[in-house]
Subunit: 274 residues, 2 copies
């Protein structure tokens, strides 16, 4: 049998409403999960030194710091305010020992139709942040986000596009591959192969057959249409040996359940589906 | 000023709940619109001979017959039932003088994770239908559908993928370019150029900045984030001289308005935005 060979991580988004960061670290440790992905708002609530101590005490790995980004703001672009904010995120990610910082890079402002301009700002903004990230030893993972969020969340929408950007930015950059965002891409197998050595994060959940909402309607692995195992094999074939990070934003279902049950279900599905 | 040079067509989906086909033909003629796109259910309700007579009487062009397809059914694939149904659609499209039949090709069945299999069935199913369509002189327009509908509507999700399929199928096939489905594509300009001579339909609406639903939440041109004029210029640069077909499925807004007002707004926006 083709068993999961990538270690499991639970992304805190999966139990966002139920658990603080403290509870997530304790809960994951109790259930035998060895790594989590941390979000900035949850880290701020906990406090950096307390979070570091708890992660250390529980021997908990940090798959990703998730998410920093929003490089596309026309208003703030190139300002010290923006760069300081982004550098602070990099420092936080490095301080908690994250393998990478995931960048969901932003997009056009309301009222703008200049998608190309937004994409140019992202490239420029990332190139400004990159020296600091390199100094901190913290890789930046560009995450292609599903095209249905191109207008309001992120203007990088395919793995090919994210890799083109890495080609331009160079060392210290890579990609985050979340099956939810890329499963439909007819070019996926080739682009994953092209990403060899640059995959910084692999994230899983499922796409429910009749998805109605453009946000927070993700499914548990095995409940939808994604051939997760196939994608995981392509990812592994590149040499990736990082975490399999379970990230399920689910406003109508899993976010209402007992978090222990959610994590136990993630573990079970990870073992049988991923 | 860069004025619209492609003739206007109103897709009946734009006034779906308000107008029968008879009312749409009369209404569009009254408001000075010279072409419409017709849907099979509306045609069936009207009756083919009555529809032909009315179209003739009003000198109304038919931009597209919209939509035939669903080639991906695992259950019906390769059966006479399926082929007969598709041939009937082709015959109807030819009978009303449509410029093409738009194919929204279907996808995986609920419970299946075999996206690749669905894509293979589409190619095979279209190749079976194609001889009949060629005999009828009716081009088949493959429409790439937004990736957010890959699970429940259509497994052809980029213009590149649709063109690859045309390459394989050959004469009698082309593509329908709907800005709603492709506006986000970083490869759009190049793929439109590649589509030269094979663009059978150009459709417009807008993508609202904060789109919440995966279906029927389209905006009026000018109300969203798409640079429609830029895309229209790329389309025209290929030599396309067909219709600019306005297709706005809008369950919460335009479908509740007076249809004369809707069409008048389409005309106004077509003149200023497209």
């Amino acid at each position: 049998m083709d068993r999961p060979s990538l270690p499991l991580s639970i992304n805190q988004a999966t139990v966002r409403p139920q658990w603080t960061l403290r509870q997530a670290i304790e809960g994951c440790a109790r259930l035998g999960v060895e790594a989590i992905s941390v979000w900035p708002d949850k880290l701020a609530e906990c406090g950096l030194s307390e979070a570091r101590k708890m992660l250390d005490d529980h021997g908990m790995g940090v798959a990703t710091y998730c998410v920093g980004g929003k490089f596309a703001s026309a208003e703030l672009h190139g300002t010290k305010v923006e760069l300081d904010r982004l550098r602070r995120l990099v420092d936080e990610a490095a301080a908690i020992g994250a393998d990478c910082m995931i960048c969901v890079v932003g997009t056009v402002a309301p009222g703008s139709i200049d998608l190309r301009g937004a994409r140019e700002r992202v490239l420029d903004g990332m190139s400004r942040l990159l020296p600091h990230a390199r100094s901190a030893g913290l890789p930046l993972a560009i995450e292609p986000i599903h095209p249905m969020r191109a207008a309001d969340l992120c203007c990088i929408n395919t793995l090919a596009q994210a890799l083109d950007m890495c080609d331009q930015l160079g060392a210290g950059t890579g990609v985050a591959v979340d099956v939810y965002h890329v499963w439909w891409d007819p070019d996926l197998e080739d682009q994953i192969a092209r990403a060899a050595g640059r995959i910084l994060s692999f994230q899983v959940c499922d796409w429910l057959h009749e998805t109605r909402s453009t946000s927070n309607e993700r499914g548990m692995m095995g409940d939808g249409v994604i051939d997760i195992r196939q994608i995981r094999r392509w990812i592994e074939a590149t040499g990736y040996r990082g975490y399999c990070d379970v990230e399920i934003m689910s406003a109508n279902d899993w976010w209402h359940k007992d978090p222990d049950e959610v994590v136990r279900t993630c573990i079970g599905r990870y073992e049988t589906i991923c």
